[in-house]
Symmetry: D2
């Protein structure tokens, strides 16, 4: 198969107000015949340059009402236009431009980049198969400074980690969910709701939080919360890349450090992942 | 000289509410004698490990009320403790953790990383000289989708760029200012005000913007605006790393592209910089 | 499942001569029960810290005769020691330290980092299943300045790419192969031979090269060459991330550019991949 | 001032043999008048796009016999063509393509990227001033597994580092030297000789090495060795970014670790730098 990446900006105006979407699109194609590989016969090959043109033309004609709709448009175009395409997958990722505000007033044409979690989606289809849509968020960095521990784990002669009931929980979250077969969803609205669910499940109630006995349980809580609140979601994959922090031992320096100064532990660098679906 | 980088977290509580500062500190030292280099005599050398301990101890004892105050504390410590230090510079940069909010309610111990411009500062001092404080913001990505052009530039036989009166202005801003000799400023408050000035000068009024005839003029407008509004600032350096966008020519594809689809131009990649002070 | 990454150095001496291996090890574990996720019950969880200790202890006891043998040792340890482990995969990657030479004389304890292709391997095993070993090379950047073209491809109204029979072929190669079930192979020797095969198949004979009609065909040539020369290899995956170069059009500048000055095309950025096995 | 970066490939043939240089050029210009910044008057501004064209045209016309000669050509062009240029600096950096060899036979048109130290140079000139040429190497990663220690350093109540007489010395080297006023040097030959000097001074004799009492002394040894062996060099700046390795304490794990297993210490991350010139 082949894939390629195109980055571009789509602008549109409503009156004097400007709207901007900057996206990175990656299209994977697999052809029905491997003759290009085996025989060097290029007659079915769709050049990278043509794929780029198609993506840009679709953006021009249809705009990007949502990342998901745009990914669907691209899949549909390839499947209906090229009978030599056996499989197509499109990945669309957004540059997180947000409208600037001055004293609460939105600016008509100025934007700031705020990368607090990157939105992306995927659409994929095999010839004669359904078009499946995924969406997700990545590079979302979160931290809880208390209400987290890790106790009661398996121990043997290689165990040196002490049990902790009040540690820092910090990580970079990747979350990807499937909508199953493509329907007429309000993808923008659902995405925002799921982002909120993630934050709620990670942090717990604002006045007290909720105790996390492990990174794994937090991953599961996020999944359960989304499944219970967003009916359109079928399956959820969550990966949490953990950053561990150690309380600095200051005894040698004549001080007591009551979880006030901590250093990140670069290695081992861990991550935990789980995929959960509806029954 | 030698320098080194330490990353750590400083936590403190007010009642049940948690406050977190994660910083990266870089300390540069120059000693009065180069004997370590020339003779391999280490007797005056302050090991990297000791510098790390000092930074952590200061964070533990003083906390980090502002990046600037912490940088000043470190400078003072090295100058007063080690007579072999001829020059010290400390750079402090913040990991942009922001308190999480759920339905507008602030969470007592959960945070999200929002890197929409990174705050940093520097303090430097030569023995017997004044302690100078700088502060700044970096990695601030801004875009205007109109009210920008570039015309009337110098032309000769190597010129191929067309004049444009309605282009995208997009860039990554670095801005660093000096407070002159250290006084009792409210560094946190001033920093926020300067960030606002930058956004105002870049974007212009929210309902109509302000025309920018070049990246250079926008750099100057930002500087003038800060100098006129923030009396504590003595000198300002601004660097704007430009991202150019080209309107895609779709004539070959049978379409008219009225600045709707644009692609970033990776090379040449330009930047303009200017340093401006008070008379 | 969970995974984590550990980086370390393994040193050993033969007389006064030093040997060094710096590796990054990543271990993935899946447990027989998901109770850690569902119930927050940690009693079967092997902490990241314990995994790190095990990897370091194995390195200390067994050394790293080859990346592959070390990956196998780790797999075996987890499978035989922990009955709660359902699946283990270990990835080992090398920092490419090479012995320094002065006027052709090898230095007994000095090394230089030469990242012209990074060696890695994987070993994986399900409980009651065979231990499978993979090896590979990545980040190998190669270029042919002629003997490459791209013609006869599929064309329609979105095609703007001209046919070319003398272009630059440049890319970053990823190549991973499977040895099938683990046997007593000389992994170091085989790896070197496969690296040579890749270079030969990419470049063709030194005096004239060999024409490549597409990136795809080059990928296939590499695979075929390895399969024909290295009997231990069962299946090969190759991914070639293409860098395209355009001849700069200098007509406007009054010059003829006969493929002398070219600029890399940042987007679209393409890649082609193929997996090929023995019948 | 303004600067911009251009990346391109320069190809030339001698008979059927191909030669390739891929470079990144960065040109900084400062104009005699700041009217572009203060007044938004662009009439003297040389657009980034024009600078790119000039660099490419010079590469086409003159080729790149050495990075240094190319940097000089660019400086000369700007100074002689544009009377509004007050200062020009050009930085040229090489992509380290090396000719492929098969069984010792050089390939006529195939190359491999071998980034074991990146060559760069700078040329700068003020109007009416001399043209100064610098050259250098960066990203050169070196390691000595013995013959290095750190003892007798300054100690006080914040010192926790133990003295060591047999540690790992590992770092990334940056070295930049000045040739003074530009003369007719064989820049390629001198660069190779200096690279050899660096390796010799870092490693010491191949059969026994040479003891380094500190990173600082090693920096100085490199500088002294170059100054004594290469008469064209006037001033040398060396920066060594240190990677520290700690011997893993395995007592808890029931093992004695005799400097066999070490882990890199991510923080504090140190560096030492020194600039040395002839009297």
């Amino acid at each position: 198969y082949g894939k390629n990446t195109i980055k571009f900006l789509r602008l549109h105006k409503e009156g004097k107000k400007h709207f901007v979407k900057e996206v990175e699109v990656c299209a994977h194609l697999r052809l029905t015949s491997p003759q290009e590989y085996l025989e060097g016969n290029n007659s079915l090959v769709i050049p990278t340059d043509t794929i780029k043109n198609i993506v840009l033309v679709l953006a021009k004609k249809n705009g990007i009402p949502s990342l998901e709709q745009f990914a669907i448009d691209i899949c549909n175009h390839f499947m209906t236009t090229f009978c030599q395409v056996a499989y197509v997958k499109t990945y669309v990722q957004e540059v997180p431009w947000q409208r600037l505000h001055e004293d609460g007033v939105p600016h008509i044409h100025s934007f700031i980049c705020v990368p607090d979690g990157i939105r992306f989606c995927e659409a994929e289809q095999c010839r004669n198969g359904p078009l499946i849509v995924f969406a997700g968020i990545k590079d979302l960095k979160l931290m809880k400074t208390t209400q987290s521990g890790f106790e009661g784990f398996y121990k043997n002669e290689h165990t040196t980690l002490p049990e902790r009931h009040d540690r820092i929980l910090c990580g970079e979250l990747f979350c990807k969910w499937s909508y199953g077969e493509c329907k007429d969803f309000d993808f923008n609205c659902i995405w925002k709701k799921i982002r909120e669910c993630i934050l709620e499940a990670f942090a717990g109630p604002p006045d007290c939080g909720e105790y996390s006995p492990s990174y794994q349980k937090t991953v599961n809580s996020i999944q359960m919360h989304i499944l219970s609140r967003v009916s359109q979601v079928q399956v959820i994959e969550v990966v949490l890349n953990n950053t561990f922090y150690n309380v600095v031992d200051m005894k040698n320096l004549g001080l007591t450090n009551d979880k006030e100064v901590l250093v990140p532990v670069e290695a081992p660098y861990g991550s935990c992942a789980c995929t959960l679906g509806r029954k």
